[in-house]
Symmetry: C2
Subunit: 151 residues, 2 copies
Amino acid sequence: MVNILHRVGIKSSLGDVYKALATREGLAGWWTTNTQGEGSVGGVMQFRFSAGGAEIGGFTMKVTALEPGKNVRWQVIDGPEDWVGTTVNWELKREGDYTIVLFKHQGWKAETESMHHCSTKWAIFLMSLKSLVETGKGEPNPDDVKIDKWN
Amino acid sequence: MVNILHRVGIKSSLGDVYKALATREGLAGWWTTNTQGEGSVGGVMQFRFSAGGAEIGGFTMKVTALEPGKNVRWQVIDGPEDWVGTTVNWELKREGDYTIVLFKHQGWKAETESMHHCSTKWAIFLMSLKSLVETGKGEPNPDDVKIDKWN
């Protein structure tokens, strides 16, 4: 099993960062505007992405843990084959003026080229999360920063 | 052992991307302006970083492989303790209009918080590399995009 790991510091409160990770409105502000579903524990959320006006796929997550100001966890229940069964873990803590986000996308079966892509793209989206919370404006899909032909 | 993996697509030739990875001038244009040393196989390169006008450390790499248009490899021989002994591997290939960069920073001993930080920061620097090759202007340290208090 291999994991994608990231860390960013956001100049804002634990509560504001948590809100951006635990609510439909927050997630739509930095990951993808096409975010649907029920964000409580046991609920299911659909994240759909588009390019050039056409839907190109997405991920369905079951919310498996929500600890306000501390932790958000998802399990991927539908999406690309290599995503299904993986887990996404968001851990929050304070450090000086920052809320630190420790991100782990765990349980990849192999170091595929797609995994390399997703690792870079998660970093881009974490910077979008940082921007949303610090400035009020993120860069969610379809206006996300593109890194290659896979988007 | 755990690895940091990334992938970007750069709208440019294999030769131009290779040049940005295999020459002192190229590296100084996207990673850190304070890049010194000898870039041939067996040579040693020093990458030093600064913040607020003061040097904050860096990495010394031995160049272990150079295959024009194809591959660049480094071994970390000095720097932060968790970096020493790790290897950095750049693999290039063509795909449509893009030169694809497959990046692997391999051999981390543990999934430390510092490793999470470096994973995100490598993605930022890969976007700086992409920008340098595509537009002529990268964002090397000290003008790199900051992601947290660790820079």
